[in-house]
């Protein structure tokens, strides 16, 4: 018996050790003190950061219930949507035209709608203002060339112009956002034709060409022409997110810190002395900086200045009713019970109320109101008004 037990024990501990090793392998290279790895299934993480595989029922510092992963494939708490429900919500518009309905609208119609529904925020000819985005700054093709402007060496230089025409990579974004998000205070109220008209107008003020044809004041936009729009800055973005290899592109991009201004270092190699560039100096805030903070900045622990509006009914409920509404002391709004006191003069009644009585009336009923405010409560208690 003893021998058998021992043998079982050995088998059990070997199995346990194997389980730990296997779990470790399954979790990738999760051998650091934080339990992280920057690779998953042999691929770099999508953002260049850490992930925390579940090892021994833990992800990083958190315990997990292993039953969840095991049972999740059996949990379906909702229902399958109907075809109409799917159609009602699945209305996003993609660059290839998925989700884009048929329709048409002219620049002229677009200008009319713009003048009535858009101009108050986006300004004349999409010039912007008041914190609202500009929709155009002029010729999109010319302005796209400003995207290499960078004010790091000359602060007085012109910056890059990032408006719809010069910057956005896809025109589908504009159509989709106007239909679902505009006009800002009353969104989802435009018809598809109105959206086409507004898009036509915005292409017009950005001086677009479609298939070699200028979007002039007479232009009429429809679905087919819309899908021929090529944005000037279509190739202005990285990493490449289109096509079947998109995720590998993204993984590769963020695997290289140089792509996005990050620095990786072995902690023991980091600079601890004489680290700054010799040319670096102290730069202070210029002209006082931005300080229109709302509310104004303060760390004071004073009482707020707000005027507190006295709610006599609420004070009665919180502070008086437990006695005056329960047969202890003269009753609420009951003249015959109050006359013995009020006949001696209201000053005496107020004084008793404010300072309390030996009969059990707490000062001000336990409230922290001013004397004047508490007198109003007393008046309400006696008169009900």
């Amino acid at each position: 018996m003893f021998k058998l037990d021992r043998k079982l024990l050995t088998i059990a501990s070997t199995a346990a050790a194997l389980a730990i090793i296997t779990a470790g392998c399954m979790g990738g290279s999760a051998s650091t003190s934080t339990g992280n790895t920057t690779e998953k299934d042999g691929k770099a993480t999508i953002d260049g950061g850490s992930t925390y595989p579940v090892v021994n029922d833990k992800t990083g510092p958190y315990d997990v219930n292993p039953q969840v992963a095991a049972d999740a494939p059996k949990i379906f708490n909702g229902r399958v949507p109907t075809a109409n429900e799917l159609a009602a919500w699945n209305k996003d518009v993609m660059p290839d035209g998925t989700g884009l309905p048929e329709g048409s609208g002219s620049v002229e119609e677009g200008e009319e709608i713009y003048e009535s529904k858009c101009v108050s925020c986006h300004g004349d000819f999409g010039s912007g203002g008041g914190g609202y985005p500009s929709l155009s700054k002029g010729n999109a093709y010319e302005l796209q060339k400003t995207l290499t402007n960078n004010r790091w060496k000359d602060p007085e230089a012109d910056g890059p112009v990032r408006v719809f025409g010069s910057y956005w990579p896809q025109v589908s974004t504009l159509w989709w956002y106007i239909r679902d998000g505009m006009p800002h205070p009353k969104s989802k109220t435009l018809t598809d034709d109105e959206v086409y008209a507004l898009v036509a107008y915005i292409l017009n003020i950005n001086e677009f060409e479609i298939n070699g044809v200028e979007v002039d004041d007479e232009y009429v936009l429809d679905r087919k022409k819309f899908l021929e729009v090529i944005m000037p800055n279509v190739n202005g973005f990285e990493p490449n997110i289109d096509g079947p290899n998109a995720l590998n592109n993204v993984r590769a991009y963020y695997a290289n810190p140089k792509n996005f201004g990050a620095i990786k270092v072995n902690p023991s190699d980091r600079c601890m002395t004489n680290c700054q560039d010799k040319s670096a100096k102290i730069v202070h805030i210029k002209n006082g900086g931005i300080k229109d903070f709302l509310p104004p900045m303060s760390d004071k622990r004073d009482l707020p200045k707000e005027k507190v509006v006295l709610d006599v009914k609420a004070v009665y409920t919180d502070n008086c009713a437990m006695c005056h509404g329960n047969g202890v002391g003269p009753a609420f709004a009951n003249p015959s019970e109050w006359t013995p006191y009020t006949s001696k003069g209201m000053d005496k009644v107020y004084a008793s109320a404010i300072h309390g009585t030996d009969g059990g009336m707490p000062p001000k009923g336990g409230s922290t109101l001013s004397d004047a405010d508490f007198k109003s409560v007393v008046d309400y208690l006696i008169s009900g008004k």
């Binding site: 510092p61 004010r151 810190p257």
Partner: protein, 435 residues
């Protein structure tokens, strides 16, 4: 009572007069053995709140902060005020933050069409596209999935983004407060998907909100199947409307904008969507003229939070031992260390992490410091600079290092070290050390 109060006021005046006299009289005498100092009326008298009833427990069914704390609030500025404060941001007073949790009422608030108020009875979440079995869930059904609770910060990637070309905000609330940290409760998206049968060709997921801007973003499948959560709980209660009540998506460590609020719909597809907020905004323009799109993670970052321009060292004197405190955070992992410099990043010494150190979470760091004369070292004013590292191997760059790659027009994802200058009066000013 009025009588008592006026007595106290007299006593208080008396106290300060006596105290001033004793300082003169006691110069050179041990402060501890002194019996000659005036007594503090805050100790010698019954305090007003100690002699009257306090509020009944029936008051404030949902509790409120002390009215004395009324200045600890989210703040905004007209610079970031589009849409009559509907497409706008109000930022967290991190100079007053304690520990690593932001109370729900102070959690920074950013929306693109105003804060929506969703009726939970009419709330529906639809998941469809490249799945074998699409699904519609009510709020009640969603909350029946097995939940997880995780502490993560959410940061607007424009945190610090107004200061690429130089410091502009003499305030840590505005320089670094476009972020907050909370304990979130919800379900891993992979738990719901386990039964829906994600098709192998799916590369992207659209997350769409139900607010008036129908805010949407494209999310890669890697994150969906890693730690993406659908959350309904924030610090032990329902999400606040500002955070997407009743449901938002949480992508730990990633741009706040990707964590779509008032979540309505998730769709899976082979190609990305090019939503408005992932191309027109939330893209980082480099000097090459190319802009980084799909810039997901907020990189390793840190700042001193105490002292700050808001709560400075004007009441601190030479020789005092004082705790310098700050926050460190990384959307790419767990904070592994923070270095502190007293000369603007020329030389560093190791600060100490304290409290819980969690992945993709605010992490507190601390350093006990003896105040030098006139807040100067070697004749130069103190320049407090912190520098954090994470377990993915990243370290915060200097401003020059970051700008050399990103230029100054990026707007988003600025994580170079921050510097706070202490002048001879103990006032704290936001500065930058750069070429």
């Amino acid at each position: 009572m009025d009588n008592k109060k006026s007595n106290q006021e007299i006593d208080r005046r008396d106290f300060f007069k006596k105290a001033a006299m004793s300082v003169t009289a006691l110069a050179g005498t041990s402060l501890i053995s002194s019996n000659a100092r005036a007594d503090d009326p805050a100790i010698m008298h019954h305090v007003p709140w100690g002699q009257v009833w306090g509020d009944p427990v029936t008051k404030n069914r949902y509790g409120l902060p002390s009215k004395y704390e009324h200045n600890v609030v989210r703040r905004n500025t007209k610079l970031l005020a589009s849409g009559n404060f509907r497409a706008s941001i109000a930022v967290t007073p991190i100079q007053e933050s304690m520990g690593i949790i932001t109370p729900n009422g102070l959690f920074f608030s950013r929306s693109h069409g105003g804060v929506a108020h969703v009726d939970p009875h009419e709330y529906r979440l639809m998941i469809h596209g490249l799945v074998e079995k699409p699904i519609v869930l009510t709020l009640e059904q969603l909350k029946k999935y097995p939940s997880v609770t995780r502490t993560h910060f959410i940061e607007c990637p424009a945190n610090g983004g107004q200061e690429w070309r130089g410091p502009q905000f003499n305030s840590v609330q505005f320089a670094k407060g476009f972020m907050s940290c909370a304990e979130w409760t919800g379900v891993y998206l992979k738990t719901i998907l386990a039964d829906l049968g994600l098709k192998p060709e799916a590369q992207w997921m659209l997350a769409e909100g139900s607010d008036n801007s129908e805010m949407g973003r494209t999310i890669p499948i890697d994150k969906v199947l890693d730690d993406a959560m659908i959350v309904w709980g924030q610090n032990g209660e329902a999400l606040r409307p500002e955070q997407g009540y009743p449901v938002r998506i949480l992508l730990p460590g990633w741009e706040g904008n990707l964590c779509v609020k008032w979540l309505k719909r998730l769709e899976f597809a082979t190609e990305p969507w090019y939503c408005k907020e992932e191309t027109s905004k939330y893209t980082a323009l480099k000097p090459t003229g190319k802009a980084i799109q799909h810039f997901y993670a907020n990189e390793v970052n840190s700042t001193v939070t105490s002292p700050s321009p808001e709560i400075d060292w004007t009441n601190v004197k030479e020789g005092d031992l004082i705790e310098i405190e700050g926050l460190a955070w990384s959307g790419m992992g767990t904070i592994t260390g923070v270095d502190l410099s007293f000369d603007g990043g020329e030389n560093y010494t190791e600060a100490k992490l304290k409290g819980l150190v969690l992945p993709k979470s605010w992490t507190r760091w601390s350093y006990i410091y003896k105040i030098p004369k006139n807040f100067q070292i070697n004749g130069k004013q103190l320049l407090l600079t912190s520098r954090a590292m994470d377990d993915a191997g990243y370290i915060q760059p200097t401003i020059d290092q970051e700008v050399s790659v990103m230029g100054v027009e990026s707007v988003y994802h600025r994580n170079a070290v921050e510097t706070w200058e202490v002048n001879a009066k103990g006032e704290v000013n936001h500065v930058q050390i750069r070429s």
